[in-house]
């Protein structure tokens, strides 16, 4: 096995033991990225020089006997909507070409402080708006399992990078499923933590009340390690919390016997759910049952309206969050004779169609005369869905479902935006309710990976990790795509 295809935990162990240098690991990772990216297009920026310099500094500090961080020498790939100081950060948009942030996102900075080394900034749907990574100003990313298929999105580049073995850990952001859905389509773990668990400072906002930063990995242990490092209060994010992470440490060893896993019948059939995905997910749930988990039925009727509420609320916030891209202070400006012309020209040509569609939608639903019918109504539905989840968790510890209704679609096959929006059917509820949710690779359908989604009550990520680790002990670690 290639050196850097080992788990993050294992890599740190052998680097700290002096069996191999961080520089060698970083270089191996960079060599693979440089060889594969022209075809895969999962990276927008490859941080070769900075990564090798950081690896050398780390090797020197280990040589001096300094105590390395828990992720020392681990190559990581960071979604390009997370700001990295001194490294171009585009959010997959023409409008941010050449934008070099003066600061690093807190989640990224914490991983770097723990010894991780950023090897690449990954491709995404522009401003994280999309479910296929086809809506990037830098071209579509391919699925490492089948280059004719999409990797999912919007964090498709980060999911593909971990699936392809570029790095054991990558970072994504999840607003309606943007970590879990590509994780499912690429056969890796993808965790969306509780809203407020990980700082959003430095994440280029799409829909602030739904956005959350989270990790991809190929082992449950790496996922837990990354979350452990990133979680916690950040003085730069007033919505971040100091909720304890102690339980994450012991979660991986925990017996899942007696855990009550809720199944929602309306999520297990219909809704465009393919039989291949349904069968694979059902089989995994049977495995949970064999391991001692108790399967209970729960009902979440209001989540039928989740998609509709989401496509009002998310664009509403996006229309406001993206107002700052006006050509005045950073990014690209189209020169014009008057201020309104400059605004129109810059925003009209530098944003992609999907972004413009959502800005228009969001502007409309917040406008005088429509706000009550759309925005406020969607807020009410959001409250009802949140309440419905709370009630469901009285009867179960977790809720299981498919992550995506289908396996990775073919590149270019989805021409109808609504069909693409439908792929988030099962994932959106957790964003609306602020709940932690995880996609576990649970098998294959038509030789393509299938993901199972687990949703837990707020700040109960350890329950997700316990199931993931137990399933991994049974089914083995998901492999690198080949």
């Amino acid at each position: 096995m290639t050196i850097h295809h080992q788990s993050a935990t294992q890599l740190t162990r052998i680097i700290c033991a002096g069996d191999i240098s961080a520089y060698e690991v970083t270089t191996a990772s960079l060599e693979q990225i440089q060889a594969e990216n022209p075809n895969l297009n999962a990276a927008i920026t490859i941080c070769a020089e900075k990564a090798q310099a950081a690896a050398k500094r780390l090797d020197e500090s280990i040589g001096r006997g300094e105590i390395p961080g828990p992720l020392a020498g681990v190559p990581i790939v960071v979604k390009d909507n997370l700001c990295t100081e001194g490294v171009e950060t585009t959010a997959g948009s023409h409008i941010l070409r050449g934008h070099i942030p003066p600061f690093t996102a807190t989640a990224v900075a914490r991983l770097v402080n723990a010894g991780a080394i950023i090897v690449a900034k990954s491709n995404l749907d522009e401003f994280a708006m999309g479910s296929s990574t086809e809506h990037s100003a830098f071209g579509a990313t391919k699925n490492p399992w089948d280059h004719t298929r999409v990797p999912g999105g919007s964090s498709g580049g980060s999911a593909a990078a971990v699936a392809a073995g570029w790095a054991p850990i990558s970072l994504g952001s999840d607003t309606g499923g943007s970590i879990r859905q590509p994780a499912s389509l690429c056969g890796v773990y993808g965790l969306k933590p509780t809203w407020g668990r990980v700082s959003r400072f430095g994440l280029i906002a799409f829909a602030s009340s739904l956005d959350q930063v989270g990790p991809f990995a190929r082992t449950a242990q790496d996922l837990a390690a990354a979350l452990q490092v990133m979680a916690g209060h950040d003085p730069h994010d007033a919505t971040s919390t100091a909720y304890a992470t102690d339980a994450l440490n012991t979660a991986l060893e925990k017996d899942i016997r007696g855990q009550r896993i809720g199944i929602c019948p309306e999520w297990m059939s219909g809704n465009g759910l393919s039989t291949g995905v349904a069968d694979t997910v059902s089989h995994a749930i049977e495995v949970f049952e064999k391991m001692g988990a108790k399967i209970v039925e729960v009902t979440l009727p209001k989540t039928q309206e989740a998609l509709a509420a989401y496509y009002v609320l998310a664009p509403a916030e996006a229309s406001s969050n993206l107002a700052r891209f006006d050509g005045v202070r950073f990014g690209v400006r189209n020169e014009a004779n008057t201020l309104p012309e400059m605004y129109k020209s810059t925003r009209g040509t530098q944003f992609g169609d999907e972004v413009i569609r959502r800005i228009l939608l969001g502007t409309f639903v917040l406008s005088d005369g429509y706000r009550e019918a759309y925005y406020r109504q969607a807020q009410r539905v959001r409250g009802q869905i949140t309440h419905e989840f709370e009630s469901a968790f009285a009867d179960c510890d977790l809720i299981a479902s498919p992550t995506s209704p289908v396996i990775a679609p073919l590149i270019g096959a989805q021409t109808d935006p609504l069909a693409m929006y439908r792929m988030d059917e099962f994932t959106i509820g957790a964003n609306l309710a602020g709940l932690p949710a995880l996609s576990i690779p649970c098998g294959y359908s038509d030789s393509m990976p299938v993901g199972l989604q687990l949703i837990a009550p707020k700040f109960r990520e350890e329950r997700l990790l316990s199931i993931a680790a137990a399933y991994e002990r049974h089914a083995g670690q998901p492999g690198v795509a080949s």
């Binding site: 700001c83 280029i204 006006d326 917040l366």
Partner: protein, 472 residues
Amino acid sequence: MTWDVVIGCEVHCQLATKSKLFCSCSTSFGAPPNTQVCPVCAGYPGVLPTLNGAAVELAIRAGRALGCEIQDSSTFDRKNYFYPDLPKGYQITQYNRPICLGGSLEFEVDGQGKSVRLTRIHIEEDAGKLSHGPGGTVVDLNRAGTPLIEIVSEPDLRSADEVVAYLKSLRNLVRWIGVSDGHMEQGSFRCDANVSIRKGTDEPFGTRVELKNLNSFMHVKKAIEYEVARQASELDSGRKIIQQTRLWDDRAGVTRAMRSKEEAMDYRYFPEPDLPPLQLPDGWDSVPLPELPAERVARYRDQLGLSAYDAQVLTAEPDLSAYFEDVLSTGANPKTSANWVQVELLGRLNADGLSATESPVTPDALGQILARLADKKLSGKLAKLALARAYEGEKLAAIFEDLGEQVVDPNAIREPVKQLIEDNPAQVQKYLDGNQQLIGWFIGQIMKTSKGRANPQVVKSVLTEMLEATRE
């Protein structure tokens, strides 16, 4: 015909915090453009606001001083519009649930008490500044993100003079309690006025016009008077008032239409997802408020025995009032202090354009002068001379040494008086013949030889006594 005028005010008041509302950039005035800017207040991609607790404390202080109901929980909203001085493309403000509701301000207009009800006070951030020049327009974001409170009144004001009195009183109050420095010329105290007129006090309110660009009390007065006359002439000639925003053009002395209701901005307000609700911690109301202007007026009048007029003058401005309080704390007589501060000191300060804090004579120095006056060590005349010299910068000790102490012992005066009577037999005879006015001349001579130190009353009684004694 005469019209009933109805006015409500929206006052934007910059909070006197060291740093901005959502980042740690300085708020100081007059720095070179864009030197007090960070990624947060420049609205860079990825930044988030974090609320400055000092701004919240000042907003609460203002609310308490104005008798508002302080809300245990309030929330922030986004007000969306495009403008180059608004870095994020939205302003963070409190639209739905402001921190203060209700309240009122009592003040005097032409000696009459007046009370204006307040609707609300909310916290919000300021925008930056655009400068238009020959080379184009440049943006200065130094002011972007500066904390403001907006104090919104009910339509309780009835004339331009009432509005000016309200604003002066409000400005005095916010400066008094340290909430704002209240500099109108630096934009830290700005007012918009909603003006309408109606036929009688029982009539429903007329269509209102919002006046902006009122940068001084004089502008406020002139703009409102102009606008009232304009609306009256529109209605008198059978036209209707259009609901709109008008800007005061001071050079032309007119208000000009900026935008009508139909063109009004749709700000697409929605809750700010980046800031949790503002929950006030327990005990936020345990910090005592300082004595407020109205309370101090009452104390001066009722306990110190000052006239209503003196009490008003001495509390009209926080610096002066603090100065007067410091003079009182030296133990000086309140009425004497009030006289001296107003007559002797204020005239000089006003002439030199100085505030009370900039006075060359400290409250303590004035207290010492007044103490010597009270002890009769200085005559009134010499005390005034001492103040004048201290104002010019002379050291108090040197002045007192030079002036010496007033002579109040009659025996110390008998010798020079005896000499004067001997040297001026003709004047003495005239006095004895009935020219009583001459006593003044005698007093003057003694004051001259004593270099002003002799107490005039003592001199007079000794003189009278010794002149009468020469009759025998």
